[in-house]
């Protein structure tokens, strides 16, 4: 697997070197040899860590960046154990935003407010705890609507043009459904419904009043009842993967995060997904008033610095953070199908030049223009509230309770926290 990625990295690094000269002002890196370590996961399928390490080393010949691999599924537990034992790397990658307050509260992260961030970078606020910046975003996935152009053509339905509201989505799902496939597939995660409700319907997950979620839940239940998408209970019993449902053309549409672009490209190349024409569009909106800058949700991925780092490495580590957030790094990341936190037309060009990527304007618009709200607001209550909302999600979709009752019960549970 590594071999497949290596040449791509080499090219990308070379490309970035020519642009490096005009890089932003960075904290001074010491002259002598320095080695810093960065935590990462699944290195063979997640090339971003090695890519950024190589890019940074190319800028500073005296610096060595070593990536320490952790298990992806148990990443936070293992990093926590190593931080506790004092054996964690210098730079701690923040895989999930909801753990940031935990690390901060435990005194494990350094204040990085003095790292200069480029204008227009998204996701930085997710790493602010009590007004202090504890990490720097380099990657920002957001949710879009994937669609199968071939199935749309067969059904005679017009492609999503960037102006869709949820009504348009419901109508299309009904028209696209045949005996062979469903109109759309919505995965079992609670964020598939709640993320959009939080982002578009003025929701505050700490308010305790979740009536703003009712509309999207009622729509989903109606689609399930009409047979336009697979119902939640069947999906739970059969545990289909969203890659299989969309990639094998069992569904014509799929709301999903932008990370799936790279997966779909590689699965189509390997034959694990069917060959068909596809694109992605902005996620349907609550009303047409927001279509110019579509509202969606997503969490960033970022780098923080271990509070136990030795003093002589701090400047180098901060320079690495600044580099990861820079326009140069963004172009590197886009070149391997990753959505960087900092986007621009230039970055978009690199991203859509990847072989197998869609080339239409709506896809490009959806990728570069959006108002992405955080999926997990940074608070020490986020985890507890999300778990209550997870129960609510199941209760509504398994029809164990009515939408109103489940919302009422969730409010009571949140109030009792």
């Amino acid at each position: 697997m590594k071999r497949r990625i290596a040449p791509a990295i080499g090219l990308a690094v070379a490309a970035s070197l020519t642009l490096a000269a005009c890089g932003a002002a960075e904290p001074a890196v010491p002259d002598g040899p320095v080695t810093i370590t960065v935590s990462g996961w699944s290195l063979a399928t997640t090339p971003e860590f090695q890519l950024l390490a190589d890019g940074f080393e190319a800028l500073h010949s005296n610096v060595t960046v070593k990536v320490v691999e952790y298990d992806a599924a148990e990443y936070n537990t293992l990093v926590t154990a190593d931080l506790g034992a004092g054996s964690a790397p210098d730079i701690i990658t923040q895989k999930e935003v909801k753990y940031v307050p935990v690390f901060v509260d435990g005194g494990q992260l350094l204040d990085v407010s003095d790292v200069k961030l480029p204008d227009g970078i998204s996701g930085a606020d997710s790493y602010k705890v009590n007004g202090t910046q504890y990490a720097v975003p380099y990657r920002q996935d957001s949710w879009v609507l994937y669609y199968n152009k071939d199935l749309f053509d067969a059904a005679g339905v017009a492609y999503p043009d960037g102006s869709w509201t949820w009504d348009d989505y419901d109508n299309a799902a009904a028209k696209l459904t045949t005996s062979d496939h469903f109109g759309t597939y919505e995965h079992r995660w609670q964020s598939v419904t709640q993320g959009f409700a939080n982002a578009q319907f003025g929701g505050d997950i700490f308010s305790g009043d979740y009536s703003y979620m009712a509309d999207l839940y009622n729509r989903r239940l109606a689609r399930e009842a009409a047979g336009d998408q697979i119902d939640f209970a069947t999906s739970s019993a059969n545990s289909p993967s969203y890659q299989g449902e969309f990639g094998k053309q069992h569904a014509a549409m799929l709301p999903m995060g932008s990370w799936y672009v790279a997966t779909l490209i590689s699965q189509q190349a390997s034959g694990d997904a069917d060959k068909f024409n596809w694109g992605f569009a902005p996620i349907p909106q609550r009303s047409s008033s927001t279509v110019a800058n579509p509202v969606t949700f997503g969490d960033p991925t970022g780098f923080g610095i271990n509070a136990a780092i030795s003093a002589d490495k701090v400047a180098t580590a901060k320079a690495f953070l600044a580099y990861a957030a820079s326009a140069d790094a963004a172009k590197l990341l886009a070149g391997v199908g990753i959505t960087p936190a900092l986007t621009s037309d230039e970055v978009a060009t690199v991203y859509f030049a990847v072989k197998g990527a869609p080339t239409d304007d709506v896809s490009k618009f959806a990728w570069s223009t959006h108002d992405t709200k955080p999926e997990n607001p940074t608070s020490d209550k986020t985890a507890a509230v999300q778990s209550i909302l997870g129960t609510m999600h199941t209760e509504i979709l398994t029809k164990a309770k009515t939408v109103e009752q489940a919302i009422k019960d969730a409010a009571a549970a949140v109030a009792a926290l």
Binding site: S42, D71, E74, T77, G244, G247, S266
Partner: protein, 305 residues
């Protein structure tokens, strides 16, 4: 009737009080009835065994499917094309040899230590009466009652300070001295009649010799049960090795396979099941070989005379 001692054992005989033959008193009719009953029992057993194996069967079949074929609606039990190459890939692309060696070493050492120290301590608990014994035993049992997740991080930090993390030794000390073996062996030692030890004491044997020469030979089935269960649990453990073993050359089979699967771009679930199938087969074989100790255990009566 001790069937094992008779020559020319009939093909289907039983020592169980439930599926028993009716002994020499049985007349012809009930003999025929008993045979019919045995056949029905066998058919039921076979049906039952097949039902038990369904998830395993599903796991094996899934390992031969394409990655997006594993879960689908409606359910497909057989793959479109059989991906035998998953097994080849797994053997050639991974450090399977090293991981297998590590796992065998780990499971064997843990099992050996658990059986040895467990049965040794069990003798102290079962056959020696001293103040505080029952309280100490309750402390042993009490630690089983605490979920590992609730103290695994403090334990990890403690072992990290002893520079034991990232070694197989950490997992040995973690798993070899559990309360389970002590408890199991204590219960079995208590079934062994006291007269046997008394007689040995009159012959001048020390308590240690009684443990080695009377207790151990008499508890072969219990030792086999302990050894099998310990071996299987160590072999299948995932979270322990994941937390402690960070460098590739120290990994166990479970850890290596999961990692290989997670790092494989194209194949996901089917490869996972390939790994799971491969990791189950050795312990199934070991179990198949080890289970015979449950019928060849020594009847206490044999030693009494």
């Amino acid at each position: 009737m001790a069937v094992t001692q008779l020559g020319g054992t009939p093909p289907v005989t039983s020592e169980s009080p439930l599926v028993g033959d009716r002994g020499p008193r049985a007349d012809r009719d009930s003999r025929g009835f008993a045979r019919a009953r045995r056949i029905i029992a066998s058919i039921l057993l076979i049906a039952f065994a097949l039902a038990l194996l369904i998830p395993f069967f599903w796991m094996v079949v899934s390992s031969l499917k394409g990655p997006n074929e594993v879960f689908s609606i409606p359910v497909r039990w057989l793959p479109d094309t059989w991906h035998w190459e998953h097994y080849v890939e797994l053997w050639t692309d991974t450090g399977m040899g090293t991981w297998l060696r590590n796992t065998i070493i780990l499971s064997t050492v843990v099992t050996f230590l658990q059986v040895l120290t467990g049965s040794f301590a069990a003798y102290g608990f079962a056959k020696v009466r001293f103040p505080g014994r029952d309280v100490l035993f309750l402390v042993y049992l009490g630690t089983i009652a605490v979920p590992w997740q609730s103290y695994m991080i403090p334990q990890y930090i403690m072992l990290a300070q002893a520079h034991l993390t990232n070694t197989l030794l950490a997992l040995v000390v973690l798993q070899a001295f559990g309360a389970f073996g002590v408890f199991l062996m204590k219960q079995f030692f208590e079934t062994i009649p006291e007269e046997l030890s008394e007689a040995a004491r009159l012959d001048g044997l020390s308590e240690y010799s009684i443990w080695a020469r009377i207790m151990l030979p008499l508890s072969v089935p219990a030792l086999a049960a302990l050894a099998l269960l310990t071996f299987v649990n160590t072999w299948n453990d995932y979270l322990g090795p994941l937390l402690y073993l960070r460098s590739r050359e120290n990994w166990t089979v479970q850890l290596g396979l999961k990692n290989f699967v997670a790092n494989n771009i194209t194949a996901d679930y089917s490869m996972l099941f390939t790994g799971l199938t491969i990791s189950v087969i050795p312990i199934a074989v070991i179990f198949m070989l080890g289970q015979r100790f449950f019928i060849e255990g020594i009847a206490t009566s044999g030693l009494k005379g």
